[in-house]
């Protein structure tokens, strides 16, 4: 059934998916400043430039804080929801699922704009707080889905055994269920963090003076400069992502949940 032209389609698909990364990688070491192709010579100047540009360094720390805090909060609040959906059957469960998938249905850009109008312009809220709220909301669907998947893999009798042996539900959850969900939680954490860390649409309208996330500051850098600094930064980010995902995979085998 699988014929030769189908393999050709595979080659086309992968060159389209990965080709741009090869080009970014090459450009980040090239000596010419005007993005001409092919890159001439070899230099590490663009990498140095990344670390010397304070807008990138500052926004990296903001993105890091934002990614960690919103992922943790979306997990802490999303986990009980996943537990309720998996372990209990109740009449409103369909509605609950719809509400928690809503952040996927609404375009991120629209959501950022709505939050700017309502919280920042009308409610005078700090942009960092608003960014945190926006990122937490868009992570709920992922947290709930990944944690639900990992709960479904766990035999409910194990928990029932703990309860029948005298633990209450909360103790049973903390001592039996939680340790068994390590991989699922780690998967949700990595996925959530990467989603927040890369997000542009929600952050775009909420980035104000002094508070800009890394991808948004990359975008605004491109409005003024056309040099390979962005290529160097992108190369660093790809390495960062691969290391993060690989570490999570080695330690906990998270790929089964993604």
């Amino acid at each position: 059934m699988v014929s030769r032209w189908m393999y050709v389609s595979l080659v086309i698909l992968y060159s389209f998916l990965l080709g741009p990364f090869v080009i970014i990688f090459m450009a980040s070491f090239g000596a010419n400043a005007n993005l001409a192709f092919p890159p001439q010579g070899f230099t590490l100047d663009w990498f140095a430039n990344v670390f010397e540009t304070s807008q990138f360094v500052d926004s990296f720390w903001i993105s890091l804080q934002l990614g960690l805090s919103s992922t943790i909060v979306s997990l802490v609040m999303g986990m009980p929801v996943a537990y309720a959906l998996v372990r209990f059957q109740f009449s409103g469960s369909g509605m609950v699922e719809t509400v928690f998938s809503a952040p996927i249905l609404v375009p991120g850009l629209v959501m950022g704009f709505a939050m700017l109008n309502f919280f920042v312009l009308l409610g005078d809220m700090h942009v960092m707080t608003t960014l945190f709220i926006g990122h937490t909301a868009i992570l709920f669907p992922y947290s709930v889905r990944v944690i639900s998947a990992s709960l479904r893999n766990l035999d409910p009798y194990v928990e029932d055994a703990a309860v029948s042996l005298g633990a209450n539900r909360l103790r049973g959850f903390l001592l039996v269920v939680l340790p068994n969900m390590q991989a699922g939680i780690a998967a949700a954490f990595v996925l959530g963090f990467i989603t927040s860390f890369n997000n542009v649409p929600v952050s775009l309208f909420l980035s104000g003076p002094g508070v800009t996330t890394l991808p948004v500051s990359m975008l605004s850098y491109l409005e003024y400069y056309f040099d390979p600094t962005i290529a160097a930064l992108s190369t660093l980010l790809v390495i960062f992502t691969v290391v993060l995902v690989q570490t999570a995979e080695r330690l906990l085998g998270v790929s089964q949940f993604v």
């Binding site: 189908m6 704009f113 790929s255």
Partner: protein, 277 residues
Amino acid sequence: MIRRHNQNRTIVLLVAPAFVFVLVFFILPLLFLLSQSVLPEDGGFTLTGYADFFESRVSRIVYQRTLKLGLIVTGICVLMSYPAAFVLARMPARRRSFLMLLVILPLMTNAVARTFAWLIILGQRGMINQTLLALELVERPVRFMYTETAIVLGLTQLFLPLMVLPLVSAMENIPDDVLEAARSLGANRLTTFLRIIVPLSSDGLVLGATLVFTGSVTAFVTPAILGGSRLLLMSTLLRQEAVILFDLHAASVVAVVMILTTLAVNLLLRVLRVQQV
């Protein structure tokens, strides 16, 4: 009965915090946005914002262009993914999981980085222009940037994984026996593909198409970098109305049209999926 009552209380306690969070911090701003689009600051309820949007030539062109490019991108993604997904789904598990990782990896890199590559490929002194000049096919560099082609290429690269992933997982579930039965009963490759593989993977196709289309019509980074203000899409129009023209009323209309478009597509494709079952 007491147990029942206790259980309901437990469920409420489990769900309430996150539920309230989404309601207050997510649904409420959207309702405010909706009210903004029909209640301008200096007056009562009116639909003139929407009338203006659909009567203005500029915004109508932008809306049509957005939908058109969304359809083209979805079409290209389907064509590129279908045969490749089939090969992937039939592969030994080890090799497949490595190749699938390579599909997922681009999804984990931010859109600015992924779109930047197209500047190097399509720019005035980019890869394509240098090749064309070297082969003496053109005398002067061709302008690829700020064209619909550039946006289509960028969006396709961005959303291709969202088509491949659901297609592969749908095709994995097609048993080999079915394909062998089709062949032994005399079906040729094309017939097998059209009458067995396509219907059995339609769930993945519909899901992938929904993700790619809604992603394309709402994406911001790619049209911002590759289209700029010369070639606006809905997302870049929204940004222009809000940040440069500071017309929040007009911007909120654009935003609501964007939500309604994505909701309509989701609903439509959900109906399609139900009918097939």
